[in-house]
Amino acid sequence: MTLAVRLRSAVSLLGRFPALAGVDLDVAEGEVVLVQGANGAGKTTLLRACAGLAAFASGEAEVLGHDLRRDRKAVRRRIGLLGHATFLYDDLTVADNLRFAARAAGASAASADEAMTALGLDGRLREVAVAKLSAGQRRRAAVAVIVARRPDLWLLDEPHAGLDAAGRDLLDALVRGAATRGATVVLASHELDRAAAIASRTVTMAGGQVIGGLLARPAPTMEPVHVA
């Protein structure tokens, strides 16, 4: 079994505060793992650290075969992170944002067009500045950036927040589709029923540590959305 994420006694500091205080976690390639826990448990820091945005101060941390203690930049091109912010440029159109993100990740401009279609950002919406979109549309655009980048590891922080029912169903299908194609997904969510339905495993965090997890189980079947 190849591991996409392997953490051992991993510590990450926010200033002097250990937001991750010795995390042990294995995530196999192709798994969809739900990380649950109360506010301040360290879920967001875990995702940011796995994305190479927050440094590991001690312990072992390997993501997609890269040792993040040595180099946390090399892995970034293979990661898609959906955070609380959308990471979009307000003044650029949806199409501009997606094409920039796709080309920066080494993907083609065509993948940006396909991602917009997959997320329902069709027609006129493509040429609308992100600042003029509704919160839900901005969230869809942020998800579309991840789809366009075609990452090997999806890190999703409260992915259902701000999406309408159709958007949530679409996101769930995209996550399943990505896992079917071999990508690994780690998502943090407070909407446990919704997120657990797409996860093959759930781990629990508290006080900056992983304190418990459920055994792997197959994800419920649902027709995935395929992005060519």
């Binding site: 912010a85 307000d90 003044d91 650029l92 501009d96 500045a129």
Partner: protein, 222 residues
Amino acid sequence: MWRDAALVAGKDLRVEARSRVAINQVVPFALLVLVVFAFALDSDRDTLTRVGPGLFWVTVLFSGLLAIQRSFVIEASDDARDALRLSGLDGAGIFLGKALAVAVQLVALEAVLTVGVVVLYNVRLHDPLLLVLTALATTVGLAAAGTVYGIIAAGLRVRDTLLPLLVLPVLAPALLASARACEAALTGAPGDGWPWVRLLFVFATIYVTFGVVAFGPLLEEA
């Protein structure tokens, strides 16, 4: 690196083209500064003509600061700076791209201000080669140094007020050199201007090199 630079420069210029901040705010501000100086010194036309080069570059510097600040404000909204880190783009490429975008805006600004100086200050342009090389070296140096200090200030809450405090002392030698070089060109003594142009190219080379090497680590810390 060059591909990344072109990508970032294209993105930044597209942001400016769509937001029109440079056209609607920076250029009018720059012209306003020229007009204010013209009103203040109008009673002495000779003085205005003599100090024209210095006023021109002071105006470029102040307006350029707005363009540099703007270059990093767009990365601060909605955590776009994290997106830039996650993009996998080369740090040197990001630096060159952002500096190039600022430089393009400065060149456009200088073109507009040149017309303003000729009209308002009654300045006659001589020795175009010296003037063009002075403008080129100053623009590259200003854009490179501004981009370096822009990323240093970017992660701080007081970035808007800190950036001018950091940048203005650093750019003072370049301002002096460019004013002297232009003065030499306009007074018909180009021989006096070339040493200043060489100094400007040294200044630009130092900051471009420093930015290429240091921007990546600075972006990580911002």
